[in-house]
């Protein structure tokens, strides 16, 4: 690794730094198609972002699939990309996780170089750029469709964005879900969503939506009581990022299931 003093890259973008100075660190994945058959890779399934009274909630189930098999039962799909923003991944797990990692480094790098944090909108835009860069790989099946959300400290509100593979991004006023079970999760959210829900209510709404998605979509993992695996739920509020603990999720899940359980007789 050679770092040049005067004539090296001088901007504040980590992705551009790597691209211009150390291209060997960002390999081209577009050759993954072998003939007409794609090499199987792990895929993540359902993730959700919801605005609520204190900010925004982002959640994801824990299952990753490879074709019709389980690739991982406890994958992490929701990442804190800095102290106030979250990214949830759906799609090809490998590139998605790498993208979340790169995004976190990108925010930190900018903050250190410039001495100031990017605005939330600027952060959402950075992710657009990364998705656009991934387009050749996406055309080969390695699609990354994340949700980006965070607490906007200038406007004192939570915000959530969805993306498409071209890098296009759309801000959602209420909620968004992507991944294989997202259709069912959105149908569920459509009925239960309320503006300005409390912390407890929004967690219940999301646990219900994930349960519905897991019920209808075989690729979405619900709550795995056998192994004690619960969905990941993170909140971004004025106080920063909060992880909702498994015990709290377990309690709410019991309530949801309790109200749906039918007697056997």
């Amino acid at each position: 690794m050679r770092f040049r003093f005067w004539d090296g890259y001088q901007g504040a973008s980590f992705a551009e730094l790597v691209e211009s100075e150390f291209p060997q660190l960002r390999p081209d994945l577009s050759g993954l198609y072998a003939g007409d058959r794609q090499i199987p890779t792990a895929h993540g399934t359902t993730v959700i972002g919801v605005r609520y009274a204190d900010g925004v909630l982002v959640a994801g189930d824990r299952l990753a699939t490879m074709d019709y098999r389980v690739a991982s039962r406890d994958i992490q799909k929701v990442y804190a990309t800095d102290g106030y923003s979250l990214m949830a991944i759906a799609g090809a797990a490998g590139p998605s996780i790498e993208m979340a990692r790169l995004l976190g480094i990108q925010f930190e790098h900018y903050e250190k170089i410039e001495g100031e944090q990017l605005e939330l909108e600027g952060k959402a835009n950075v992710l657009s750029g990364l998705i656009r860069q991934n387009l050749p790989a996406a055309m080969q099946g390695l699609v990354v469709v994340p949700i980006f959300a965070g607490y906007d400290r200038r406007r004192s509100t939570g915000r959530v964005w969805k993306y498409e593979i071209t890098g296009g991004r759309y801000e959602e006023k209420e909620y968004e879900s992507t991944g294989s079970g997202s259709l069912f999760a959105r149908e569920s959210l459509k009925k239960s969503y309320r503006a300005n829900a409390s912390r407890e209510d929004v967690i219940r709404i999301v646990v219900e939506a994930l349960t519905d998605a897991a019920d209808e979509d075989r690729g979405t993992g619900g709550v795995d009581t056998l192994r004690g695996l619960y969905p990941t739920i993170k909140l971004a509020t004025e106080a920063g990022i909060e992880d909702v603990g498994d015990e709290e999720i377990a309690g709410i899940y019991e309530q949801v299931i309790g109200s749906r359980r039918r007697s056997t007789s």
Partner: protein
């Protein structure tokens, strides 16, 4: 075609060193010192252009001399740290390697270019008690000619170093509480020949590497926080 006059290597090195020293001596001073729960960097700097910056989780940078030059070094340090952390793991980014990089770059500039860099820099790395092999603090100072020093306790760079060094030598003790350490740093800075004899918090730039903080341990103190800590 004309040939330049012959200048002996000794003469050239001496001239360059004198030039760099002069440039640095014109500027204000900066003190890095260990306290009971981390490392503090204290500078007289009423401007918005900072001399102290975050490099990585446990590593901070400080520079004196020509702003454009040491700030370019700082940015290079951030690039180095983020690339190495991306390539390997966050724990693999260490202060010693970074200080060596700075030493090499500054030394090369001194030897090869007509004008040496008019800077002096410090790389500080706070120890992580829970992490075997990374427990100790480290302070590295790199001079305008690339000479690198490994220091313990405290380090003074910038103009009128002798006055400050003397004050630190007689008053510094290890494991000072944060308030005492910052007061000592401020008192030392007020002894500088070109310094302000009564430094208000607004004219101080103070950054900490706090050992107890999780993840990124660097924190910049605001003038209000500083007033509270110093009891001014």
């Amino acid at each position: 075609m004309s040939f330049p006059f012959y200048v002996s290597p000794e003469q050239m090195t001496q001239d360059k060193a004198e030039f760099a020293r002069k440039g640095i001596a014109r500027g204000k001073s900066l003190i890095t010192l260990e306290y009971d729960d981390g490392i503090a960097m204290v500078a007289e700097n009423p401007l918005n252009l900072s001399k102290i910056g975050e490099i990585y989780d446990r590593i901070a940078f400080a520079g004196v001399g020509k702003y454009s030059e040491f700030d370019r070094l700082r940015k290079m340090g951030v690039q180095y740290a983020d690339v190495e952390g991306f390539r390997f793991s966050r724990e693999d980014v260490r202060g010693k390697a970074l200080a060596n990089l700075f030493s090499q770059v500054i030394g090369d500039e001194f030897n090869r270019s007509m004008k040496p860099l008019e800077v002096e820099i410090v790389v500080a790395e706070v120890g992580e008690p829970q992490f075997v092999g990374h427990e100790k603090n480290a302070i590295y100072k790199v001079q305008f000619d690339g000479a690198i020093m490994d220091l313990h306790g405290y380090c003074v760079i910038g103009g009128s170093v002798e006055n400050l060094q003397g004050h630190m030598e007689s008053h510094f003790r290890s494991n000072l509480p944060l308030g005492d350490a910052l007061r000592l740093g401020r008192e030392a800075l007020m002894r500088a020949e070109n310094g302000n004899p009564d430094l208000p918090p607004e004219s101080l730039e103070i950054c900490l590497l706090e050992r107890q903080r999780r993840g990124r341990k660097f924190r910049r103190l605001s003038a209000d926080e500083l007033r509270g800590i110093l009891g001014l």
